[in-house]
Structure formats: structure tokens, C-alpha cells
Symmetry: C2
Subunit: 473 residues, 2 copies
């Protein structure tokens, strides 16, 4: 499979060198003393919070990040390879609101979070569960990370996203994961069941919360996305090429820090930059510029030999309507065809990260299944080219009643989840439903049929005890 790419080798090198020049002469702000110390000791020039990176240091450290690694799930069948020819889909992350067709838009609760863990668990296409799929607004602030992690551990046996709201949440996540696996933290560093997203404060800065978490996870050897969301026309130049330079510079700076703390820390080269909708001054994640940046990010990450993040079922739409559909597919398919490895926000996002939608979760799950079918691709071997069968059937024949068709269609043709494929007459008879209404039925059905992947009783107890000791019953 040859991935879609925008740049020549020479252009990739020019982008890289522009970033090195920025890192050396303009610098990046790190507002966290422990990070400044590490960087200074490694040979960076530090003035106040501004850090200037020697180009050779950047290249040497970035080269230490691994090209591929595995996140171990508590169900070993569900472990996930990050890198190589693999693509991993991960649901929505971060919205403070939730919506569905019955109850409308509202502040999300822990129940919503748990429901999304269950939907992620039940999905054929989601490889990893969140990670802040819905903010549990009904839980006290300080307790939220622990309750989300517990829910991720209990209601799914897939790998999961860790907390990212500072060093303390990172520590807590690692400690809870060690309880889940009944192992030491040193052993946990071999298993890597969690991965977290840490983000620059664009342009060209990192804040103390993010740096605290980056350093904590790096110390523990836990994988992390070093991510930039530069916004063309707002936090970066209005050209997507200039925005790519800002993004690339930020990500390189963050990765250098991770490798200085612990050589070989698994990272993902993570770009989620887009542009602003200039008329409204809002961030636009449904814009084609987002897809453009996804392909550029994947190519830059390949140059560095590090797994990439980009894409997502992203949308600016307010409803699970046609706009939500085509925007989500655009970024998701671009990630698939440009060789992205890690696709955050693969299900549920509406309104530019503001809302997680139950219906859109199901629709995006369909999109992800279709993209995985496309990624599986074609293999032109004798068997699949089927010369002998075509010869036998001959001109004017039919294949519907062939044994070959009956034996193979289930594995050959994508089995849809909610897409409408019936005839018009049948569709009318069934109630003439639009797909958002079908998705509404579907998520309720999935939650109803959900089966909990039982945790051992003592593990569950130990996790609850950990939380209650910290935050009360």
C-alpha cells in the first residue's frame, strides 16, 4: 500500500530544517521549572522560560523514540500495535456536553462516560477506549480522573486513554493501572496498557499542567501523544504550510523532553492542527484544511520514524446530519489513506469538540468500519483474481448462485451496522427513517445487549479502595 503524500523528499527536509531553525533561534516557552532544568542540563540555552534547542540535540533525541510498540490490553486478544501498517481508532475526547435525539444537548455526567466506554467496548472498530469521552460534570473535579479511569478499566477490556490534566492525574492513572494489572510500575512499563494525550499551548509553548503530565508519564515509560493543535490564522500563519511548521516545531520540542527523561519513551507524533472559520472566529475542525494537515503530519512522522496521530471523525455540525457525515468521513478517510497510526476522536464528536453525540458515535463507528475495510485493501494473488471462476461463468453469466460467492461474501464485503441499503419501497414500509434515527435505536440496543468483561473481584475492590482512600466513599 502506497500512502497519499503531498511533499517531495526535498520539501520534507526543508520543513524539518525550518523547524530546527525556529527551535534554535526563536525557541519554545516551557513554563515549568523541572522541565527547564532537564532541558538546560541537556545543553539547551534557557532564558527565563524560553528554551533554545541545538539542532543536533533535537535530531539525536527524536531518533530515540521507537517506531512501533504494543499497548497491552487486559484481554490479550485486544492488545493494539501502534505503528507499522496498523491504524488504531479511539473515540471522542474532551467534550463538556453530550447530546442524543431524545434528551438533547446537556452537560455530560459519569453515566454518559460509562455509556461511551460500553459503546467503545462493544464496537468492532474502536481499538482503544477513552479518555474523557464525556466530562463527568456530576463528579467533584478532583475525583473525576479516578472515576473515569475506573470506568475505563471496568467496563472494557481494551487498552484505554490515561488522564492528562497534570502530573497528579498522570501519577494516579499509572498507580491505578498497576493495580489493574496486579504488577509493579516497572512491569507496567513493559505492558503499556494506557496512552495519554499531552498538548502544546500553541504557538510554541507548553504549560505547567501539560509538562507535569508529560514528565510523569515519561518517567513511568507510558506511551503518550505529543500533540499540537495550531490554528491557521489564529495561533499560526494562515497558510497550512506555516501552520505545519508551528505544529512540527512544538511536537519536536515535546518529544525531545520525553526522550531526555527516559530514553525510548513511546510517543506518537501528533498533529491536529486546522484553521479558523474566519467569518465567525471559531476553530473549524470540519474544514478541508484539517485533512490537508493530517496527510502532512503523517508524512512528517514517517520522516522521523515515529507513529503518527491525525484525523478523526471531526465535525463542526450541530446535529448528526449530512454535514456531520461528510466532514467526519473526510478526516477519517484521509487518516486512513495517508498512513496515520493513531486516530483520536474517531467517534462521537460534534460542534468542534464541544459535544459528544450518542447517535454520531454509532455513525462514526460505521465510518471507521468502512475505513478499516478500505485499509485492508486489495491483494492481487491468483486466488483472489479468480481467473478460473470468471472463465467458467463466462460472458453474460451470473455469480449470485456460485458457491464461491456464498462461501466468501461474509469475509469479502463489509457488513454495515446502520446504513440503509434496502429498496425504496421496503424502506418506506419500515418507517422511512433517516440514519440518525436508526443510530438512535442502535445505541440503545448496544447498551441493552452490553456484557461486562468481568474484573476479578479483588482487583475491583482494590481499585475502589484506592479511589475511596483518596477521595472518600
Amino acid at each position: 500500500m502506497r500512502y497519499f503524500e503531498y511533499f517531495s523528499e526535498q520539501e520534507v527536509r526543508r520543513i524539518h530544517e525550518t523547524c530546527l531553525r525556529l527551535l534554535e533561534t526563536v525557541g519554545v516557552d516551557f513554563s515549568f521549572e523541572p522541565a527547564l532544568e532537564v532541558l538546560k542540563k541537556a545543553g539547551c540555552k534557557v532564558e527565563g522560560q524560553r528554551v533554545f534547542f541545538p539542532p543536533r540535540l533535537v535530531e539525536a533525541q527524536v531518533a530515540k523514540a521507537p517506531a512501533q510498540y504494543t499497548l497491552q490490553a487486559r484481554n490479550p486478544d485486544k492488545s493494539v500495535v501502534i505503528g507499522g501498517e496498523h491504524i488504531a481508532f479511539i473515540p471522542c475526547y474532551g467534550p463538556p456536553f453530550v447530546t442524543d435525539l431524545d434528551r438533547g444537548r446537556r452537560a455530560s455526567t459519569l453515566e454518559d462516560y460509562i455509556n461511551f466506554v460500553k459503546l467503545g467496548h462493544a464496537s468492532r472498530s474502536m481499538d482503544i477506549t477513552g479518555g474523557m469521552m464525556a466530562e463527568p460534570n456530576d463528579i467533584p473535579h478532583e475525583r473525576r480522573n479516578a472515576e473515569m479511569m475506573y470506568a475505563s478499566m471496568r467496563y472494557s477490556d481494551k487498552p484505554f486513554m490515561g488522564g492528562a490534566i497534570g502530573a497528579e492525574a498522570a501519577r494516579e492513572t499509572v498507580e491505578m493501572a498497576a493495580i489493574l494489572f496486579g504488577c509493579s510500575e516497572a512491569e507496567l512499563a513493559e505492558k503499556r496498557p494506557i496512552i495519554s494525550i499531552l498538548c502544546a499551548r500553541t504557538p510554541l509553548a507548553y504549560d505547567d499542567r501539560m509538562l507535569g503530565a508529560i514528565m510523569e508519564y515519561a518517567k513511568s515509560g507510558m506511551p503518550q501523544l505529543i500533540s499540537s493543535l495550531s490554528i491557521a490564522g489564529a495561533t499560526a500563519p494562515v497558510t497550512m504550510e506555516g501552520t505545519l511548521v508551528v505544529q512540527n516545531t512544538e511536537v519536536l520540542a515535546g518529544i525531545v523532553l520525553t526522550q531526555l527523561i527516559r530514553e525510548g519513551t513511546p510517543v506518537v507524533f501528533a498533529g491536529s492542527s486546522s484553521c479558523s472559520a474566519m467569518r465567525y472566529g471559531t476553530l473549524s475542525i470540519g474544514a478541508p484544511e484539517m485533512a490537508v494537515n493530517t496527510a502532512a503530519t503523517a508524512q512528517m512522522a514517517r520522516f522521523y520514524g515515529i507513529p503518527s496521530r491525525g484525523g478523526g471523525a471531526l465535525s463542526d455540525a450541530k446535529l448528526p446530519d449530512a454535514q456531520a457525515g461528510f466532514e467526519a468521513m473526510m478526516s477519517q478517510l484521509m487518516a486512513t489513506l495517508s498512513g496515520v497510526h493513531f486516530v483520536l476522536h474517531s467517534a462521537g464528536i460534534l460542534e468542534g469538540y464541544m459535544v459528544s453525540s450518542y447517535e454520531k458515535f454509532v455513525l462514526d463507528d460505521e465510518i471507521c468500519g468502512m475505513c478499516k475495510r478500505i485499509k485492508r485493501g486489495e491483494r492481487a494473488d491468483e486466488d483472489r483474481l479468480a481467473f478460473e471462476l470468471i472463465r467458467q461463468v463466462g460472458p453474460g453469466g451470473e455469480y449470485l448462485t456460485q458457491k464461491h460467492t456464498f462461501q466468501n461474501f461474509r469475509k469479502e464485503i463489509y457488513a454495515n451496522i446502520v446504513e440503509e441499503k434496502d429498496t425504496y419501497a421496503n424502506w418506506q414500509q419500515k418507517g422511512a427513517m433517516s440514519i440518525d434515527r436508526r443510530a438512535n435505536r442502535k445505541w440503545k440496543e448496544i447498551l441493552k445487549d452490553y456484557q461486562e468483561p468481568q474484573l476479578p473481584a479483588e482487583t475491583d475492590k482494590a481499585l475502589r479502595r484506592y479511589i475511596e482512600r483518596k477521595y472518600g466513599a
Copy 2:
């Protein structure tokens, strides 16, 4: 720009050789005496209607088809290059029904056809107008082609699709085009203002109607799509690789005929194969297998050095809902990223080619605009990387008030047509509309604002006289 590809060089060659073997030993049915004569004279073995092709004849003839050519529009600014790095979008083709949110699903009329010509003319992204965008069911059968061609010539000054319902319609289309351009048919062959789609009767056959039109257009030197719609599990093996072999064999056979009739006839290597929705026994054009086949078609066409057709804003959905959105974007973006040159059905299709939708026309026009932005791509030159600007703004700065942003955002960032990008609060205040309702407003607005690109009075009169002489007033 490096296009997405599935196959290695060796695999492409294996597919090609499998097709040559089929052409030589299994053959293709041509149920049209004049075509059999041409093929026999060229050295094919003919048994009844079955034609067996010597491999060297196939390779020699296919090599004669040009890699690139221009369709001349009556407005020279709107001429369209087929081939090279170009992608051309063409609206829906063939549906017998039409639908909109106000009047619902119904048999289409000439008025609908004219409306779609106007929408295609007004679009920034449609390069060529149809071509059977809506069947004029209110016009007598024999007169339909002439009235559609007249409408295409009068209401738009872009190149247009010609009739394809047999030799007579092809002849008529060429004669009317010569009147439009006020030139001889020999001169018309230099201008090529029309392009038509001719389709195999899969598997491995061509019928008399299609062969009549192929031969007529080839004689006139008019460009044509030689197209196959093989259906995995119905008219072709259930593996998409086997389906590709059937498609490729059919297309090669058709192209050989065009080059034997007139060497250098411009053709498009056209694949629109997909799979059946096995549960319902219906053709599925919204399936990921359709997108898989699009990439495969583009790669095979590159191997032959002939412009390719694939993709389209295709959907099985019954309404302009999220399914319509994500299915359309899937095939449209795949065409864009795999290097397809000619994308038929780029606007309006619902229900697997059964319906043209006014609202979906507008939504797909948005999708096409986004795909063209993505195709424009990135160019990593010093100017666009914007080092100096990033240096000046520095860490923690902002770009919104920079002169560079103000001067460039219009050409840098895609300007959307109907997408909702506003804040939630503003969206609510504006009526909380879904995008299909916005599209409903939009197409009415476009038709209201439409301005006719005036034909010279005598040309218009000559065209009407041609039609009335043939079919009465």
C-alpha cells in the same frame, strides 16, 4: 503529490496479464454486426458474437489512446483538461426520479433537467454539466436526447455530456454540437466539446445500443468513457480483485474497438464497479468496496497511460442525511487521493442512482469544493512556510491581527457554501437548521440568482430549427 495506491508494479502486471488471458481465451460478446466486422478485420477470432482478442492487438491499440486532452467549452475560460494532474467533476447521470424537501420524490421532468444544468453552471466545482442529470419523463422518448442537449448548450457555457442511448442519439449530439460551434464535424473533432459515457453489459459483453454509440462517437473523434459497472457477487466474483479483472477486461475490449475505428480517439478508462448488498440483493454504491475499486481503477489506468474515471458523490441513502454525507465523501475523496481524472455523479445522487436530489446536489457541491481544496495540496516553499512571520510573532503570540492573515485568508482557507460553522448559540438563534434544510434554501437562491450565458440568437434559432425539423414544434 503521490497518489494512494494498493498494488505493487508486479501486481498491476499480473492483473493486466489475467485480463489479456481472458480476452484471448474466454472472449467478450459483441452483439452488433458492424463491431464484429471491425474486430474480425483487425485480427480477432470471432465465433458468433464472441470475440477473442490477440494480446498483442490489445496492447498495441490501447497504447494509441491519448494520455491527456482538452474539452473545449463555448466559453473558452471553461475548457477542461482531462488527464495529467487534473480532476474534473461532473454531476449526477441517469436517475429516473428526482426529489427535494418540498415536493418529495417524483418522476423527473425537463424542468428538473434544466434546473440541474443551471445548478451545474453556477457551481464553482462542477467542470462539465450532464448528461441525463434527470430523465425528462414529460418529453416523448425519441425527443428526449435533443431537448437535453439543447438545454445543456443553452443554459451553461461549460463542456457537457453527450447522449448515449444508441448510434442515433450520438449522431444527433454531434450534429447539434457542430451547430452550437458553427463549425464542420471535422473541426468539431479538434474542439471536443462533448464527452459521453458508454458502458459494457457486464459480465464481458457489449450490447448493440452501446456499440452503436461507441462507434458513432469514435468516428467523429468525440471523447468517450469506456465504462464497466461490474458488481461483486452478482456480475463478477465476490472478491473485489476478481471484480476488477472483469471490469478491466471489459474496458480494454471497448477501448480496442474505439482505436480500431479512429486511432487516437480520446477515451477515459472508466470503472464504477462495486458490490451487491447481499442481504437485499441490491447494488450498493455507498459501500467501501466502491472506494476500493476506485483506487484500483485509477492505478490500472495510470499503467495504461489513459485518463481514469472513478468515484462520485455516491450513496445508497434515501434522504440527504448523514449516510448520504459520509458515503458521498468516501468515494469523492478516494477519487481525489488516488488520482482519478473524471468523476461522474459528483453531485445529486441518492438511492444508488435512482434519484437526483436538489438538496444533495448542493451538499455534494460543497464536498467537491473541499476535495478540490485538498487536491490543491501543500507547497513547502520559503514563502508559505513563513519562517520570518513565525519568528516575529514568537511563542505565545497571535496571528489573527497580522497583515499576512488578512491579506491571505481568502485564498488560503476554503470558503464554504452551506456548512454550519457558527457557534451553538448563534446557530440556535438562526433557527437551529440541519444542513439539508440549509441546502434547500441554497438551491432556490442559486436558481433565483442564475444568469443565462446568452447564446447568439441565430445559434439558438438553428438549434431549435434542428429539433423541430426532426420532432415537430
